[in-house]
């Protein structure tokens, strides 16, 4: 790593090599003890020290509790939605079963035969023995 890249990294990531890109940390650590490296890190470290002074307070109990209460409400609402969805799904499955059953009964059940048969004068055991309509037309 040359001084230019070292300075660019310090300008971007600061004087602490732990914040530098992982791939360049080793090369940076080799350059760091040089006179130039030390000066660059020292300069970047001044801003780091100022940035470190800006600490943020930990979240208060009120905020923590409020977020957990909102989570509880959301989970309860989700459970209700799941319950209704499951109910609708079961109802759908039941309806689909009923329709399928009806369709099956319609297809499988044989056509109902009349329990009596009206014999006319031309009917025989081999079918209708009356004059053949087609032949009559041909003869004409």
């Amino acid at each position: 790593m040359d001084a230019r890249r070292f300075a660019a990294l310090a300008a971007a990531y600061g004087g602490d090599l732990r914040r530098w890109p992982e791939a360049e940390r080793m090369a940076g650590a080799i350059f760091a003890p040089s006179e130039m490296g030390d000066a660059i890190l020292s300069h970047a470290g001044k801003l780091d020290a100022q940035l470190d002074s800006y600490a943020v307070e930990a979240p208060g109990k009120a905020l923590h509790g409020s977020i957990l209460r909102a989570a509880g409400r959301h989970l309860a609402q989700r459970r209700r939605q799941l319950f209704w969805r499951m109910g609708l799904a079961l109802a759908g499955i039941g309806l689909a079963g009923a329709v399928a059953g009806l369709a099956l009964v319609t297809i499988v059940t044989p056509e109902v035969q009349p329990d009596h048969y009206v014999l006319d004068a031309n009917a025989t055991a081999f079918g209708d023995a009356g004059p053949d309509g087609d032949m009559i037309e041909e003869d004409l």
Binding site: A8, R19, L51, I67, H74, R78
Partner: protein, 180 residues
């Protein structure tokens, strides 16, 4: 792609496990709040943002799947978007012609130490994109790759934002120090 340390916890939250909900809040709330406080410079607004961020987490936990980004990256993106909504609203409320440097008097007096207040003012005085980059890498301790993914920019662009941001901070802090 390395394993996401939050993935299992998020899956449990999505399944409605109350213990997982508590663990996730304990793990993420300090990070989300710190990010929002430093982005907005206002503790009360940051708390609102944190609450809104968690509402989004609860809403998406059951369907959240790891794509290119980790859960932490996604949470940071959500929080930053919420912060931007607030910053935009502020701009609309105050004036159409906002100065680049925020008025120090308008910022809340939440930090007792003078150094911290100076840094807070300086952070509010730089461009929001530069502020985001510095907060993610410096304060949130994200790697350059994670921060670039959160900001949806290249690592080179991130480095440029960081350099310009730190330079601007040095100028503002030097001026503020000379004035004070």
């Amino acid at each position: 792609m390395s394993a996401d340390p939050d993935e299992e916890l998020v899956r449990r939250v999505g399944a409605g496990d109350p213990a997982a909900v508590q663990s996730l809040v304990a793990r993420k709330l300090p990070r989300i709040l710190a990010l929002a406080v430093r982005m907005l410079g206002d503790a009360a607004e940051a708390e609102d943002v944190a609450q809104e961020a968690f509402v989004r987490i609860w809403r998406h936990a059951s369907s959240w799947r790891r794509g290119n980004a980790s859960f932490d990256t996604w949470v940071h993106r959500v929080t930053l978007n919420l912060c931007y909504d607030r910053l935009r609203r502020r701009r609309e409320w105050v004036t159409d012609d906002v100065p680049d440097v925020a008025d120090p008097a308008a910022l809340p007096d939440a930090h007792p130490r003078e150094d911290a207040q100076r840094v807070e003012r300086a952070l509010q005085g730089i461009a929001p994109r530069q502020r985001e980059a510095i907060i993610l890498v410096y304060y949130q301790e994200m790697s350059n790759i994670e921060a670039a993914a959160t900001l949806q920019i290249s690592v080179d662009a991130l480095e440029s934002l960081l350099s310009r941001g730190r330079r601007s901070l040095q100028v503002i802090l030097a001026r503020d120090g000379a004035d004070g």
